[in-house]
Amino acid sequence: MKKSKQFWPFIGSAIAAYAVIQLLISMGILDDFYSNILIFMSINIILAVSLHLIIGITGQFSLGHAGFLAVGAYISAIVTMKLDLPFPVAILLAGIMATLAGLVVGIPSLRLRGDYLAIATLGFAEIIRIIFLNIDYVGGAAGMQVTHMTTWTYAFVCLFVTILVIVNFTNSRHGRACISVRENEIAADAMGINTTYYKVMAFAIGAFFAGVAGALYAHNFYIIQPQNFGFLKSIDILVYVVLGGLGSLSGAVVATVLLTIVSTFLQDYPETRMIIYSLVLIIVMLYRPKGLMGTMEITDYFKLWRSWKGDKQHGK
């Protein structure tokens, strides 16, 4: 496969980036504030990339990503706080339970399309939130105390695995089937692609990584409360994907990094932050509905640039 050429450089640069940041953290150059931003950024990237698989690749408009995040957060908190199991087990179980939630949500609602699917997923996410609100075992509305366990290493490993799996999935036969569902579902059906199967699969994988992000999220913030996982959280994640470009993984990552930095600086002014977010949504949709990068990836730009330079050398 031609994409495999990118595989080893990707792993190499990822390990290098990890090592540099870990070194800076252990030397104390990056203090708690900055390492926290980095962890938060990684969590957001995991969320954005997992939603990108559902919206950008498979074209299923889901407004319920915060629901899977909530499942992951609560399950992992139960595993570490109530059952006293180690954190990696919690991350894995959070992912698995979120996948189950994704299947429960996905199988009935994926019969719907477009705006109906959006509203149904929104409804499911709200139901999940209300269920946690009503279970006293996890603290109800007051929330649940969680010890801080998320470190840069955990966040990075999860981020790395997420991106690796989703990139490989997208470039595989299954990924291409998902893209064909996005482009034209009826045509894909006619070509013999089991569209429901691929939609549910994308939903389940997206939910798994949202659950993983939930585990990291819960163990980074000391307390989790049902109101953290409302409709606005889903919109937060949606903005990352829409701004980056529906269908572009690197676009989603770049947009997440930018917006996380912006929202960190606007932490004390939540209204201003939401006004900026909403303006971003409106303006991007009105003037550049494809998002910043459309369906292009950063590597595509390199290729374009290279072929343009090559053309010039040959005097074309």
């Binding site: 919206i55 149904a120 709200e126 139901i127 009503n134 009826i186 209204e271 939401m274 909403s278 409106i282």
Partner: protein, 291 residues
């Protein structure tokens, strides 16, 4: 007679949902857009009513009319500025824009006046009437009569006037309507104006009945009104009324049975069941998909 009491409460709540749902259903029927900002128009209408009653000292009916007019203008502005360019865009792009507009209005209001709630002034002496053992407040009667009157006016506009005929034509087939000499853009604006006016009226009524309003009050009633519209069959005007009333009664019954924390979940469970088993809604007809 506690059940009769709950039924009356449910119908009062349901008529508010119905008024909001009418705007959703009319807009969806005509341009196939879920206008997420509709709940925010309801909120703005409520605040305009609040200001005109408590600051300018107007009575209930002048405040209601003022709020309806202002909301009609507001709705048309939203349509002209944000949605008009998106007529030919994908459904997802339109939906995302609508979510953006909704967040912008919410946070704009919070930015201007802060997030603290406001207490609606009393506009009516609250007398209760005894009706077969159930207490009916004068406010409940008022809400019901105003809602019913507005719905009758709407039915009249849609079925008996020229603009209503044009609206039905556009929602049936916009291209053909254009060929018949109907100005589609103006009709779409008129639809937004009427729907937003109804939402403004619902806002004032909500304020009078529940006495507490805040900038985020539009979110939950907005989504529930959408559920009501889907329940009745989206795009169908009587469907929105029936859907709103059914939803209001169901919610009140769920609360009365002692599951008040699950009240919001009930609406969403209804939504998902209806979408799965009868996506066209109570009054809708199934349409076959064509390639």
């Amino acid at each position: 007679m506690e059940w009769l009491q709950q039924l009356i409460n449910g119908i009062s709540l349901g008529s508010i949902y119905a008024l909001i749902a009418l705007g959703y259903t009319m807009v969806y029927g005509i341009i196939k857009l879920i206008n997420f900002a509709h709940g925010e128009v309801f909120m703005v209408g409520s605040f305009i009513g609040f200001i005109s009653i408590s600051v300018w000292g107007l009575g209930f009916f002048p405040a209601l009319l003022l709020s309806m007019t202002a909301c009609a203008i507001f709705g048309v502005l939203i349509e002209r500025i944000a949605y008009k360019r998106l007529r030919n865009a994908t459904r997802i792009a339109a939906l995302i824009t609508a979510i953006g507009v909704s967040l912008l209005i919410q946070n704009g209001v919070i930015y201007i006046r802060g997030a603290q709630p406001a207490a609606y002034p009393d506009v009516f002496a609250n007398t209760s009437y005894n009706f077969f053992g159930a207490q009916i407040s004068s406010q409940a009667i008022l809400i019901l009569s105003v809602s019913v009157a507005l719905m009758l006016i709407l039915q009249f506009i849609v079925h008996k006037t020229k603009i209503g005929k044009a609206m039905r034509a556009v929602s049936h087939d916009a291209e053909a309507a254009k060929l018949m000499g109907i100005n589609v853009d103006n009709i779409i604006s008129a639809t937004f104006a009427i729907g937003s006016a109804l939402a403004g009226a619902a806002g004032v009524i909500f304020g009078v009945y529940y006495t507490k309003i805040d900038p985020l009050m539009g979110v939950i009633p907005g989504v529930k009104a959408f559920v009501a519209a889907v329940l009745g069959g989206i795009g169908i005007i009587p469907g929105a009324m029936v859907g709103g009333l059914v939803l209001g009664v169901v919610e009140t019954v769920v609360s009365a049975l002692g599951f008040s924390l699950w009240r919001d979940a009930a609406a969403f469970i209804i939504l998902i069941l209806i979408l799965i088993f009868r996506p066209a809604g109570i009054f809708g007809k199934n349409t076959r998909e064509k390639v």
